[in-house]
Symmetry: C2
Subunit: 215 residues, 2 copies
DNA sequence: GACTTTATAGAACTTCTGTTCCAGAGCTTA
DNA sequence: TAAGCTCTGGAACAGAAGTTCTATAAAGTC
């Protein structure tokens, strides 16, 4: 982009537009710029707007009122957000209500809005709020939010939400495939690992992130 | 808010406005709504817009073109983001380069863009990337990002970044004010607490959040 | 100084656009 | 059935707003 030096007036106009946009929620009309910047004629504004558009600072549509849009300004860029439903509370031994496609954001206690890069652009992400100290050894505290990705398979050592069919309950454990059994390692030294038959486990998702807010 | 059922037409209009806003960057004129929704008169749109405004779905300013703003609609709201500079790496005993007002985002290794509510709307927030296990007891892992708020004072037990003047070094510790000394409690049981004179400590910021990305 | 570029004024013009008024259709209710 | 509500159509008006034109300064360039 041709970053030619902007004149004082052009800076002024640009600032005014940004301000107006922020305060009112829509772009100013030419005559409002005239007043707001204490200029004297619409053609003067027209003149400078054309320059600003040519230099890539804004965009307008011909003959359409209030069609100014600011470009690239750091102040108003909004990154694409994804909505992550917090579908439940996870504490040792409690079933986790994993959402199915339809009951996705319906069952949510609340929704997080996160920038896409925080979930690395992954699909089928949900979140659980952690209750209790059942995961301290995984450095996850009471009150933290864990980001989960819905998967049905996992590698050794990954922390996953597991549904134990016969027990009809779900927990968060580290999973290790050993011979013909599955070792489920709790994330708390107070608890012993569990060994179950592979046919009894159904993986519901894996932990892909942790968010903690203090103070 | 009076959540009266919206009629089909009103839904249609609302959707069209949202769409238009998204695609063009400014609100549609009444007559553009007429065309876009295949309606037959401006007064019809006027009629429905008034209802939509009364019901709290949007806001407009009188006699100002394209002044429609959508309210609260879950679908297209982009939350305001703030830019948090990751100003350095914190590992036990390493000085932390706390940014001053001018060198704010200049010294940043990278920038995080976070939704405002993740920093509770706080000002002067920066971030540090954690290197090593010096903070495991605070449930902060190697590779985590800690969100810091620049403050110069702290309460007992808060985790803060402290500048030790005479030693000319900074670390992250929990701080306890005891009689005429300050106890700095490391976040790792391997390390012993340090006692220093209040005049020797300068608090640079406190931890307000932790972000971890796995897998 | 002659010439070009940049910046400014003012007014006129045309189109865009919000607003208003009136009439009527369709529906429900007493 | 009359009354009353919601919803629709069409047209006209007035003010808002983008555009254009001409003239004039000021400042830099040759």
């Amino acid at each position: 982009m041709n970053t030619k030096e902007l004149s004082h007036k052009q800076q002024l106009i640009l600032n005014f537009i940004g301000d107006f946009l922020h305060r009112r929620g829509y772009a100013p009309a030419i005559r409002e710029i005239v007043q707001g910047c204490r200029l004297s004629s619409t053609s003067l504004v027209e003149y400078h707007l054309n320059i600003l558009e040519r230099e890539g600072y804004l965009r307008r549509d011909v003959e359409i009122s209030r069609s100014i849009r600011l470009l690239g300004g750091k102040r108003l860029r909004h990154k694409e957000m994804i909505i992550v439903p917090v579908v439940g509370i996870i504490s040792a031994g409690t079933p986790i209500p994993v959402p199915s496609a339809d009951t996705w954001s319906n069952v949510a206690l609340e929704n997080l809005e996160l920038p896409q890069d925080m979930v690395s652009g992954k699909e089928r992400v949900y979140a659980l709020r952690v209750k209790g100290d059942s995961m301290v050894d995984a450095l996850i505290d009471d009150g933290d939010v864990v980001l989960m990705q819905q998967v049905s398979d996992a590698n050794n050592g990954e922390m996953v939400a597991i549904w134990l069919k016969s027990e009809r309950e779900a927990t968060l454990k580290k999973v290790y495939w050993e011979q013909d059994m599955v070792r489920l390692q709790p994330c708390n030294t107070q608890m012993k690992p569990i060994y179950v038959h592979p046919s009894n486990v159904e993986i519901q998702g894996k932990v892909i992130g942790v968010i903690r807010q203090l103070s």
